[in-house]
């Protein structure tokens, strides 16, 4: 098509999906492709596979918590010698790798890698990323990580088993735990590669967003998704080096015999440690200096996507666009000075605890602001309950819970009791699963047409949402009251404590819910792959949305746009009074619409 084509016609004629033109071999087009969309999808598929693996790991964990030492289905064969019961070190390995996989191989890459890659150029009107080769590398650097983490399950002693935080001296000392052998080394290697990948990505995103916006696309006309991706990239760029450095220090402690993190005269498993003079808390500081910002890396993009989806299906402008942007920036800024709230009980100077408590209380603020603005966005809209919308709404609803429960932990005296109990487990699962994962599902249902040119089945989408929503809350909400009892996390069997032995039925209930939750994802998988090939054709703009990606063909060919998009307004001009359609795309020329707009203001 030519530039002369009016997008309004573009909008209504359901265009057949334009085939991806072949530049070079299959290999260079689909495997080692430099096209941001292909890379995005590569990220999407890899992370979804790991999502499944992580989920199954979680099930095994839940099994042990609910029925410790009783025969494990399927896995039982591994423990024939023990009569089918799970060995405790195997359990520690399970929850360690569950967290590791979910955080480093699913959430971070699926948000930044999959959606970031796919959406950024499309939503800012660029034909590709600034550095396509870097982009490709950022994906292929994930593979050494995939291999390292995957292989670590099969080495002597099994995979890493000192928690995803891998605190020294448990993690630095080979003798301290079976998983602290080969498994931990591979874990550190994997982590490094994930870091490299994210770093390459973030550099690319920042450059692209700053330099390659379409004409007329000012920073404050960017959709929230892009803002979120931008801030996330900044966070990664500043936080990651610290983790990578710390990782190398730990690697050195383990392999070169340095003593950054181990004090003098430590006797682990009755082996006298030769090195010493270090300080275990140093790792915790370095680790959380990355990993707290990382918490926001794991939620901000979802927030952005949810904002876009809410506006689309509420047919209403985003409530308080700039406050939303500022609050994201605020979160990012404060995110760097709150890491200490993970260490209230760690032996860090209690006086520091007070300062970190204050900053932590303050970071709850921007989150609150965002929540209120989402409510404001829904208020007075014309809400369409599509699957994407439902997931987006559940994100808001669940994020409220996750946010509020955070306040308990932020209050240092209360944290004395609930630190490292199931209360914290509930908290971060509400933020990361009930929050981010819901956002991700919303994003997949919402952008699926743009990715594959076909829409996912709505009916089964809603079934998927309903069951997930029920089971999810059944699993995670219960954790709050478990935490109130002080039920500690990471215990292979807590029922020999008088304080906790009556909690077994509750845990059994949660495990059944968890099983249901994982099983439900089969519906999603089926729907996803079925719709990829047999789903109804989508057309360019099935949701009648405003942002730039919807002006491109579905799926967009190489180079994305078949005309040069020129941006005339912000991304959220829905239900503009006096305009016949209930939305004005960013590319719509400022003719009659502009008049109407002026009248409205």
């Amino acid at each position: 098509m030519s530039i002369a084509t009016t997008p309004s016609t573009v909008r209504h004629e359901p265009a057949a999906p334009a085939p991806v033109p072949h530049h070079g071999s299959f290999l260079s087009t689909y495997v080692f492709s430099k096209d941001h969309k292909v890379i995005g999808l590569q990220f999407l598929f890899s992370t979804l596979v790991w999502f499944l693996i992580g989920g199954l790991l979680a099930l095994a964990v839940r099994w042990q918590i609910a029925w410790p030492w009783s025969d494990v289905p399927v896995l039982g064969k591994l423990f024939a010698q023990e009569g089918g019961q799970m060995a405790p070190e195997f359990y520690t390995m399970l929850f360690t790798m569950h967290a590791t996989v979910m955080i480093f191989l699913v959430i971070i890459p699926i948000l930044a890698g999959a959606f970031g890659n796919f959406l950024i150029p499309l939503m800012i009107g660029a034909d590709d990323m600034a550095f396509p080769t870097l982009n490709m590398l950022s994906y292929w650097f994930m593979w050494p990580a995939f291999i390292a983490f995957g292989a670590s399950f099969f080495v002597e002693g099994g995979a890493a088993s000192s928690g995803w935080t891998s605190y020294p001296t448990l993690s630095t000392n080979v003798a301290s735990s079976p998983g602290s052998g080969w498994g931990q080394t591979l874990w550190l290697l994997g982590l490094t590669f994930v870091g490299v990948s994210s770093m390459l990505g973030s550099v690319n995103y920042m450059t692209t967003i700053i330099l390659m916006r379409a004409p007329g696309m000012t920073m404050f006309r960017l959709p929230m998704t892009i803002w979120a991706m931008f801030i996330t990239a900044v966070l990664q760029a500043f936080a990651l080096p610290v983790l990578t450095a710390a990782g190398f220090m730990q690697l050195a402690d383990r392999t070169l015999g340095t003593g950054f993190f181990s004090p003098e005269g430590n006797i682990v498993n009755n082996w006298m440690q030769s090195t010493g003079g270090g300080q275990p808390l140093l790792w915790q500081h370095l680790f959380w200096f990355y990993s707290h910002p990382a918490v926001y890396i794991m939620i901000l993009p979802a927030m952005g996507m949810v904002s876009d989806i809410l506006t689309t299906f509420a047919r209403k402008p985003l409530f308080g666009y700039r406050p939303m942007v500022y609050s994201i920036a605020g979160i990012a800024g404060l995110g760097f000075i709150v890491w200490g709230h993970h260490m209230f009980m760690s032996g860090m100077n209690p006086a520091l605890g007070i300062t970190f408590m204050v900053s932590t209380m303050m970071i709850a603020l921007p989150s609150a602001v965002k929540t209120f603005n989402w409510l404001g966005t829904v208020w007075g809209g014309r809400i369409q309950f599509t699957t994407a919308m439902l997931f987006a709404l559940s994100f808001v609803s669940m994020f409220i819970i996750g946010g509020l429960s955070g306040i308990f932990m932020a209050a240092t005296p209360v944290d004395i009791f609930i630190h490292d109990t199931y209360f914290i487990v509930a908290h971060f699962h509400y933020v990361l699963f009930a929050g981010t994962a819901m956002g991700v599902f919303a994003g997949i249902y919402y952008w699926f047409p743009k990715m594959f040119g076909r829409t996912m089945n709505e009916f089964w989408g809603k079934v998927h949402f309903f069951l997930t929503f029920i089971f999810m809350n059944g699993t995670f909400f219960t954790m709050h009251i478990l935490g109130a009892v002080g039920f500690p996390r990471r215990l292979a069997d807590a029922y020999h404590y008088e304080t906790f032995h009556h909690l077994q039925p509750l845990n059994a209930f949660m495990t059944w819910c968890a099983i249901g939750m994982v099983a439900t994802q089969a519906i999603f998988a089926a729907n996803f792959f079925w719709s990829m090939f047999f789903g109804p054709l989508a057309g360019r703009n099935p949701w009648r949305s405003n942002t730039l990606e919807w002006t491109a063909p579905s799926p967009p060919g190489h180079g994305n746009f078949d005309f040069q998009p020129i941006v005339h307004r912000g991304p959220y001009e829905y239900s503009v009074p006096g305009v016949e359609q209930d939305h004005l795309m960013q590319t719509d020329p400022p003719n009659a619409a502009a008049a109407a707009l002026a009248a409205a203001h």
């Binding site: 199954l56 099930l59 609910a66 029925w67 410790p68 030492w69 009783s70 025969d71 494990v72 289905p73 399927v74 896995l75 039982g76 064969k77 423990f79 024939a80 010698q81 023990e82 009569g83 089918g84 019961q85 060995a87 405790p88 070190e89 195997f90 002693g157 003798a175 735990s177 079976p178 006797i267 498993n269 009755n270 082996w271 006298m272 369409q384 599509t386 829409t455 089945n457 709505e458 009916f459 089964w460 029922y495 032995h501 077994q504 059994a508 099983i515 994982v518 099983a519 089969a522 519906i523 998988a525 089926a526 729907n527 079925w530 047999f534 789903g535 109804p536 989508a538 099935p542 009648r544």
Partner: protein, 422 residues
């Protein structure tokens, strides 16, 4: 909704796919058959004794008849074991039943000591020192003479205090009924293991007319094999070492000084292994019996294979050749058996006497037992006979003073001559 129509049209074709995939998932997670727990035969000994599969099978069968399975233990009256206690300790864990009445051993012990009591639990390989293998029936920390079995009280006390300086935890918080049951079950596993060893070794003693089959008679299996082993356990209770009381009017300082003399002297000769510093840095490259056995076998195998390599098969008569082949096969099998059924041998360093950690207990009485009778299974020799009781008491007092020779902090590790400290 622009796509409502598509939606409806799609709905009909779906359920098949989805149900299929759901089914697959259930298949993947739901049904998995877990084999019941079983007693693993002592493959190291079986291979050492060159048992044939039939012979291994016979031993397994006899043991099954005499001792039952990990889930349903039985015991011959001759063992003098209390089956009720055994049932409390044995069996799978049913943690979903509050106040359940079985599975204690597999809940608390099997991870390290193994369901069979062979110290090959999944966690064993990562512990230092390795957990105890009950099968040879050798126990270290007890109130009886070197070769005697521990008394029931000894086992209970050990469970109660744990073994400081090892991975053996204290079970003081378990109800005593459960501790009793566990102690009884340890005896059961030990008697079973020792019986197994005896049976496997018995094949070599067989006359040729027995055609490599043990007589399955009460005389042989019970009277000749089981009863002697069980008797040793029964005898333990009355075999406690009689400890002459420490002289009441003992002058501690003088006693400690005397103890030091003995520690460094040629008579008690402690210094040879525990070192001039008392840090356990003397003769330290020896093995305990369990590891030594594996080391010896390792040597045997390597020498055997070396031998086999250098002998040329050329000019061998057919049966010589088959013999040669058999030898090679045996060596190869032994290699695999050690891989799976034995732990990497580790030396046993003498105790560092300055940590103030005493595995067998810190009571003066415990130290007296150790010095008097030595430590069974370990290099520590007995001083009885060559060192009179009152001198043993002196040594005890000196040992107890060692951790405090520095500025009162435990675990001092600066290699300084103990002589210069006092």
């Amino acid at each position: 909704m622009p796509h409502a129509s598509m939606m409806r049209s799609a709905m009909h074709r779906h359920p098949v796919t989805i149900i299929a995939i759901l089914g697959l998932c259930l298949l993947a997670t739901g049904c998995g058959q877990t084999p019941p727990a079983y007693f693993r035969p002592n493959m190291v000994e079986a291979t050492k004794q060159r048992l044939t599969p039939d012979q291994e099978k016979q031993v397994a069968t006899v043991l099954l008849a005499m001792f039952g399975t990990p889930d349903e233990p039985v015991c011959m009256p001759e063992t003098g074991l209390d089956e009720a206690k055994l049932r409390l300790a044995a069996g799978p864990v049913r943690s979903d039943i509050v106040g359940r009445k079985n599975g204690l051993y597999r809940e608390h012990c099997a991870h390290c000591h193994g369901v069979t009591g062979d110290a090959l639990g999944p966690t064993a390989a990562f512990l230092n020192p390795y957990p105890r293998d009950y099968r040879p029936g050798v126990f270290k920390f007890k109130s009886t003479e070197r070769a005697d079995k521990p008394t029931h009280t000894d086992l209970v006390r050990l469970l109660h205090n744990g073994v400081p300086g090892t991975s053996m935890p204290s079970f003081a918080l378990l109800p005593s009924a459960q501790v009793e049951a566990l102690a009884e079950y340890v005896k059961y596993l030990s008697i079973r293991g020792e019986t197994e060893l005896t049976l496997m070794r018995a094949f070599f003693e067989l006359d040729d007319e027995a055609q490599g089959k043990l007589p399955e008679t009460r005389e042989f299996l019970v009277d000749e094999t089981l009863t002697p082993i069980a008797e040793k356990w029964k005898a333990a209770a009355d075999a406690q070492i009689q400890v002459p009381p420490m002289p009441a009017d003992i002058d501690l300082v003088a006693s400690i000084a005397k103890g030091k003399e003995l520690f460094y002297g040629d008579k008690a000769n402690c210094v040879k292994c525990h070192g001039v510093t008392g840090l356990g840095d003397g003769q330290a490259n020896d093995y305990d019996d369990w590891n030594k056995a594996i080391v010896e076998i390792g040597k045997e195998i390597s020498s055997g294979s070396a031998k086999a390599r250098e002998t040329s098969t050329s000019g061998m008569s057919p049966d010589e050749l088959s013999e040669h082949r058999a030898q090679l096969a045996w060596i190869e099998k032994f290699g695999r058996v050690l891989d799976g059924d034995a732990l990497e041998p580790r030396t046993i360093p003498p105790r560092n006497l300055r940590h103030g950690i005493y595995r067998g207990g810190r009571r003066p009485l415990d130290l007296y037992y150790r010095i008097h009778a030595g430590i069974n299974g370990a290099p520590m020799p007995a001083a009885k006979g060559t060192v009179p009781p009152e001198e043993i008491w002196h040594i005890v007092n000196y040992i107890r003073s060692l951790p405090y020779e520095l500025d009162g902090e435990l675990g001092a590790d600066k290699p300084m001559l103990a002589k210069d400290r006092f």
